[in-house]
Symmetry: C2
Subunit: 271 residues, 2 copies
């Protein structure tokens, strides 16, 4: 999906919500686990159908699937395929946080973009240019580089000062030179909304993927205040607050209600 | 495997070679690809049997398996199992370069250490403490943190100066506080052997995993000169130079010869 198509989806739906598909067997409603062999896929399928009207993107975190080995990978691949077939206008992000030496990153890029047909993949920047660039060589595909993450440990390295500039800003500034606003985005944790102001000085137009709204405590208003562009320029992710809104038989219905609530809050920010 | 067991293996075999299992269908001998459905596994199995006498560790890079989807993951899991059953005294490293927020890293740790029974996993440090610490909570298991990588792009961020200290040294110094020399190692690219001197000032006793010897141009002598400890303290990895020593019917034999050559060079460095 290219930038213009993504912006059109956002403007049509009047929201910029990304639903994070992080299925954890211990949190999935018991009747789903009992009834179905591939319970992760069934859970996802019902969540996807329920929330698709209220979001523009889906983001499975690959860790939650890899943890279950072959059966988990099967669930992931079925989930990705289900989204691409049934919701081709939704932006599909593999949250895989990959990054390796050049030829190895190229293998990851091919796997996620070509074989699995994702629109975007999250990328860890520590290994530098040849670990990131292979993800920029596919038309209408995106690398979403980890800039500022929303976890506690982000302070350990991301805020270190390089000539008075924090490392995460240096990472964003450097990586932005390798791609364009048409093939690169950045992850910016929402628990630090005011830092979006600093990020916007460096990448005024790039899309930012903002996790941490909801369960991790970020505020949508704050994020919009500092992060919004004329083209919106934001994808705000919510995982747990939506997919685990209930663990009863009404889980999909409650997930839809929660997604709808967030989508409605977003409406005022989409011109 | 604990530190003492690893050291004993090294002293018994008089080498500290790690064979990198990075199978690429386009480089695997044609007769293997033609003859066998799971050609990656068969290739690995023959390489493992041929090189096991001349190495103390195996390191599959997970990217090379994930690239082939389910069939690749099957090959990876079969390979890991084959090593654990047939060569239980070899140190088994999953080169996965993982790192995510705390609860997600914990899922990765459980998958690689418990389900797949690896001894160690490589970890990307950018997200900080809660992305690394979950890998330190398993007895006799190891996190191998990316310190200095051997690729060209490593210069982009790893050499940035934080108060006159390069980032990779800051990463090593900080991460070393989260673990011990019994559950943490560091990746230090061999193309920069003299930097090992700086690393040894910070972690004089930790094991270092050194890629980049051979195909990537690193020198074993240089690495030993600056990196060796009384307990050896090094695992030197070679992938391509060994596993693709030949692409004919003699590939396993040639791989063994190549591994034996490196192992013999190592002998003089193991007291």
């Amino acid at each position: 999906m290219n930038r213009q198509e993504l912006i059109e989806q956002i403007k049509t739906k009047k929201n910029f919500l990304c639903v994070g598909l992080d299925p954890d067997i211990s949190k999935i409603p018991q009747h789903i686990v009992d009834d179905e062999e591939d319970s992760i896929y069934l859970f996802n399928k019902l969540i996807i159908d329920a929330t698709a009207p209220y979001c523009v993107a889906f983001k499975p975190n690959t860790a939650f699937y890899e943890a279950y080995g072959l059966s988990g990978i099967t669930s992931l691949e079925r989930t990705l395929k289900y989204i691409k077939i049934n919701y081709p206008n939704h932006f599909l992000i593999a949250d895989a946080k990959r990054g390796d030496i050049g030829n190895t990153s190229a293998m990851y890029a091919k796997a996620f973009f070509k074989r699995l047909n994702c629109d975007a993949i999250t990328v860890a920047p520590y290994m530098g240019s040849d670990s990131v660039k292979p993800f920029l060589e596919f038309e209408n595909k995106w690398a979403i580089v980890l800039g500022l993450t929303s976890n506690e440990g982000s302070a350990d390295f991301q805020h270190l000062k390089i000539n008075n500039q924090e490392l995460y800003l240096n990472v964003i500034e450097t990586c932005a030179k390798w791609g364009t606003q048409n093939n690169m985005m950045f992850v910016i944790g929402a628990t630090k909304a005011n830092m979006l102001q600093e990020v916007r000085k460096i990448v005024p137009q790039h899309f930012l993927l903002v996790p941490g709204v909801g369960a991790q405590g970020g505020s949508l208003e704050e994020v919009c205040k500092y992060g919004l562009t004329n083209d919106v320029g934001l994808l705000v992710n919510s995982s747990r607050a939506i997919i685990y809104a209930s663990n009863g038989k009404d889980f999909a219905e409650k997930a839809a209600l929660e997604a709808k609530k967030v989508a409605q809050q977003m409406m005022e920010f989409v011109k």
